[in-house]
């Protein structure tokens, strides 16, 4: 099974602002304002295509969420605690799989429900809430129209994060595949050629 990477694939809003977990609210505000200013300037100077619109909308939404969550000690502690809890649960599940203990499925379910909660809360809801915050609205010019467009983009972001994490986790719905990619190429070629058994 692939090891857990250092960044673990979970959203780290401190890293997004170029800070560590000990950063003070003043540092959070300063970093957010500078990064948002740079981003707004960049957006003003590029031609906005459909793809770029989605990309920039997500960038603005994540920056807003980072500031919205980290400027207040209560929301910041709750976010960091849930993130650490999910990471610990992933480790517990991996250990249960490695030791083939009987509670593998329980460990997986507990982890999966916490992961979904974390991604839903901090990969989607927090961004939408931040878009209604006065200070975020002022800095990012986020409005109701952005929110309407963002809902699909944020859902896609949340699910993509889930998939990204899932890729390195133990298989549970199917047995662990041992794919021969050379053989796969031949199968694809035979399908394209219309050859059938």
């Amino acid at each position: 099974m692939p090891p857990m990477p250092d960044d673990k694939g979970y959203i780290n809003y401190f890293a997004l602002l170029g800070l560590d977990e000990t950063a003070k609210p003043g540092e959070v505000r300063k970093s957010y304002r500078q990064r948002m200013k740079d981003l707004v300037m960049e957006i003003a100077h590029v031609e906005i295509t459909e793809d770029r619109r989605s990309h920039y909308m997500l960038e603005v939404a994540t920056l807003n969420a980072a500031f919205y969550l980290l400027r207040d000690s209560a929301t910041r502690d709750a976010y960091w605690a849930l993130r650490n809890e999910v990471i610990a649960l992933e480790q517990q599940w991996r250990e249960a799989v490695d030791s083939s203990s009987g509670d593998v499925d329980t460990a997986r379910r507990t982890y999966d429900s916490k992961l979904r909660l974390f991604l839903s809360r901090y990969g989607e809801e927090a961004m939408l809430e931040a878009g209604r915050d006065k200070e975020c609205v002022e800095a990012s010019k986020w409005d109701a129209a952005h929110e309407r467009h963002a809902s699909r983009i944020l859902r896609h972001y949340r699910q993509s994060l889930y998939q990204q994490i899932l890729e390195r986790l133990p298989y549970y719905e199917v047995t662990t595949p041992r794919i021969d990619w050379e053989e796969r190429k031949k199968v694809a070629a035979s399908i394209l050629a219309g050859k059938d058994r």
């Binding site: 499925d105 699909r152 983009i153 859902r155 896609h156 699910q159 993509s160 998939q163 899932l166 890729e167 298989y171 549970y172 719905e173 199917v174 047995t175 662990t176 595949p177 041992r178 794919i179 990619w181 796969r184 190429k185 199968v187 694809a188 070629a189 399908i191 394209l192 050629a193 219309g194 059938d196 058994r197």
Partner: protein, 358 residues
Amino acid sequence: MSSSAKQAPAKVVDFEEVIDVIAKAVCEGDIVNFRLLFSPFSPARESSTESFDMPKYAYLLPDEEMMGGPRFAASRALVKRPETVSALRRELEANRPPQLPWELVLELADNAVREEKYSSAAQAYELLRVRARIQREFFVQADAALDAGNVPTAVRGYIIATSLAYDYAAFPEPLPITLDFQTRAFVLHSEYPARPEDCIGLREPKELLQTALAYLLLDAEAAVRLDSRSEEVRLAFLKELALQRDSACETFVARLREACVAADELLKRLQELQSTPALPGEVDAHMDLSKEEDDPRRIPAALLGYFIEEGEWWQYLKELVYKHPAAALLVARQSVGDLEIIVPRYAPDSPVVRALGV
């Protein structure tokens, strides 16, 4: 219940029959039936009250014709392998979510692609976490086929690759992409064309070609992969793509010609009325919809092949593109009095229009 009450005899599952039904699901590339067989109420489980003898499960059993086929034989041989049989027995006896044997899921996915059941294939590859890589492999082989001048194989590769895409923004859970030309055509025609150049079929060939490829591939990014190809190759690709998306495109072309004749007749009628100086108000107010020659709705009906009772323009469009996806590129919305209809509108000398078979 008293202890003397008779207990129903324990259910006995014929495992040879289980092997046959699993082999059928694998052979047909049917992920829904395959997963059903491992559900808690599956007739393949001894703990379930359901049984393959029940008429409602007859569709799960292979018929003689299928059992005589080579693909079924190959699927059955895979299911019948001792290690697979013991894994299947274990999963069907366990009281927990099943862990499906990966070899069967992979074979099922491949068969689903062969059968053009792309949603099923995408779900099976996604379970194995190889969907994106398989998709890339089809793109690579399709591009190689295009390099070699084999356009039909290249188009087939692109259709398979784009059909294996997943929509991670679907609500509430990610879902495979489906053939939704009805929705995409509606988006293409969402704005009323204020100027002739707003009509899709009248666009510049370069722009129309890009729109046509993105629309018929159901994927704008896949269409961008073809950007580096010459216009000649892209037009040949589009021609083949239109054919593979709609094997009955000749029927549509014949109907398109009929609709053009009907549109010309209507135009003459409007000009006739316009040249009558005694008629007060708007010209179309003097048209009698009960007369066939005055009814503009015969144009969309000619396109579709039948009338839709009180049909709006978008109903005609949706039904039309469901049958003939490329039609969305050759029609436009048109107001006639209080009515709004779809009419044929394209540049007949455009190479893109010719590639679409017109």
